[in-house]
Amino acid sequence: MNTRLRRLMRPRASRAQLLIALLCALLGFALAVQVRTAGSDGARRNARPEDLARILDDLGARSDRLRSEVDQLRVTRDRLANGTDRSRAALMETQHRAEELGILAGTLPASGPGVLLTISDPQGKVRANVVLDAVEELRDAGAEAMQLAGSRGAAVRIVAATAFQDDPAGGLRIGSGRIAPPYRLTVIGEPATLAPALRIPGGVVDTVAALPGARADIVSAARVTVAALQPVATPRYARPAATPTPG
């Protein structure tokens, strides 16, 4: 048998031999590939049906759990989105309110329809009380923002705390500023209400006209600008109360 086996092992090169070699190489290649493929997912392929059923149950339970988690997270996301919307609305509301309060306190410039009241007073007879009367009258008529300018000094924003005084040197002391006639009062409010309030008999216009040489002129405008600002004063003693008292 050994001679035959040896003869078999002897290398012989011919076309047929090469073809056979090629086929054998192909077989080896396919064998290795198949062993790999079968080994990679062999665990599940060879599993018993009850094991597969258990794995399937586990996967189903897991997917149920994940699905409920998805629902929960979606609810949380919606709630957060709602919260964001609400806080954005609150922020806008607050900004709006801050602007309104800024206009009232005189810390923000304002523009809108209104009137221009010019009081010319070449003889210096218009006293602080006349101007204060005019301002009070305008406030009653719904003026929302006012500034007073004169021929000398910067325009002064008129707010609730603005003081009106006669200046011994002539002119007026309005708040911290000094102004001289003629006075120009810029008022934002409904012109159809403001102008009559000044013109009522015995009112501001009449009072000014009664003074020698003085006269008051009213011009309604679709748009006037109150640009003078009151400096922001931080209260030294007053603090916001914790709870607003009702009423």
Binding site: L8, S14, L19, A21, C24, A25, L27, G28, A32, Q34
Partner: protein
Amino acid sequence: MIPGVALVLGVVLGLILHPTVPTGLEPYLPIAVVAALDALFGGVRSALDRSFNDKVFVVSFVANVLVAALIVFLGDQLGVGGQLSTAVVVVLGIRIFANAAAIRRHVFGA
């Protein structure tokens, strides 16, 4: 000698490259491998019987692979692919056993 080296070379190549089998070919590869193994064992046996013929070996190798694949394909089309695959493997396994027994008798004389 050369076929043996080629076989080892093919195994090494398959292990190194480990290509993914195309999905369409996946059911046929194991059957084709078993059929080729059958042809290989038959070839070795005939060589030991001094009746080896190059042409017969090549033709039987290719035909074995093709027929085995064809049977599995037919089984897939008929809906009995799994059973036919088993049948082919059983038949080829019996033949491989018979050839291996003949080779054993030649090599060990028993």
